[in-house]
Amino acid sequence: MRSLIDILDFTTAELDELIATANDIIENPAKYSEKCKGKKLATLFFEPSTRTRLSFEAAMLELGGSVLGFSEANSSSAAKGESVADTAKTISCYADIIAMRHPKEGAPLVAAQNASIPVINAGDGGHNHPTQTLADLLTINREKGGFNNLTVGFCGDLKFGRTVHSLITALSRYEGINVVLISPDELKLPSYVKKDILEKNNIPYKQTTDLESVIPELDILYMTRVQRERFFNEEDYLRLKDSYVLEPKKLKNAKKDLCIMHPLPRVNEISVAVDDDPRACYFKQVLNGKFIRMALILKLLEEAKR
């Protein structure tokens, strides 16, 4: 049974196909409004999330399907001690496809190993969040017309930021990508991502703590939030949370067609004043997230039929 646990589960050709479907959905929504009639998506969210869960639910509803599930572990059998494996087997009896978020890394893989229906990883702790990466890729594709020959800056928490690791991994398969890593020393990109992804794929990269000095080079600026929930130590969080705040004056020397992205939610790392700048793409990213999830649900249900 085909699932999506890691962005690398799909080839670049399959990603292109998903993006093409998502673009077609955007152009012709009526064509897809009943594609999933009679199908059910189970959203198993063992950890709170507004955006991702509602995005999945909106995606399924716009495909004409229906949705069931829970939005926190306390309202599920996990509170009684049920294993992820048993939950996956049980839900397979009720639904056609699962979207799972879980605080433990690898939980969606365990679900996929035990379910008889496709499982989509909707975020597993600080590990993977492939559908955010799909949303990011669709946004880059729509704003830049493709993925080749781009200088992409990642700014903020590059250590725990799973969306950053996944997007770097996905972009590493394209030609002419340059990466600029902007973070405080304590939140640098882990060395295994640098070695295993960037260096292994011969992707030029540089590291800096100074956003303003590199902003003129960037085609894409991917901002991230310093996530409180990833820290064991509150003091470290408080010290690092305001490392970067993107304000209009910092964009003075940026390219006219810079694409500013953020996986959201933001706290204060992008000033609200930036929202009116035409280069701000983060709310488009949210919308694109719904369309690419529609394309993904369609693809996995189609493959499950075979």
Binding site: A85, G106, H127
Partner: protein
């Protein structure tokens, strides 16, 4: 130092000096009631020093464990006091229930029934990562 030769069993040779005990533990040799000898720091032309383990019983050996800990090892199979076969090992692609993931955020730390599986991610360095959370094995 003399160690009796064995009748039927195995001689695990060319163990990197210092790794003999690790292999002893991971293979669960402490559970055997036959003769088992660990010889440490034996002079070796090839390695300088090496460890050797002799097991005087025809048991099932987990070659994956040996390939993971020390891929340079040779395993001599002994029958009727004679060596009948000499095997070399290579690092296994997957390692199941040999080591445990130490990442406290990994699903394997809370769900007891899950197999602890590690994947060979870098053959040259012998690097393994947890299948579930991709944390590097120590």
């Amino acid at each position: 130092m003399n160690i009796d030769s064995i009748t039927n069993g195995f001689v695990i040779d060319h163990i990197t000096a210092g790794r003999g005990m690790r292999i002893y533990e991971l293979l669960g040799l402490d559970n055997l009631d036959c003769s088992v000898a660990i010889i440490k720091n034996v002079a070796s032309k090839k390695l300088g020093k090496k460890d050797i383990i002799k097991i005087d019983a025809d048991i099932e050996i987990d070659f994956d464990v040996i390939g993971y800990v020390d891929p340079g090892i040779t395993i001599n199979i002994i029958r009727d006091c004679k060596r009948v076969e000499k095997l070399t090992v290579s690092p296994p692609e997957m390692l199941t229930n040999v080591i445990k993931c130490k990442n406290p955020r990994c699903i394997t730390t809370t769900e007891q029934e899950i197999n602890h599986i590690f994947k060979l991610t870098n053959k040259e360095k012998g690097e393994y990562r947890c299948l579930y959370c991709e944390t590097k094995a120590n």
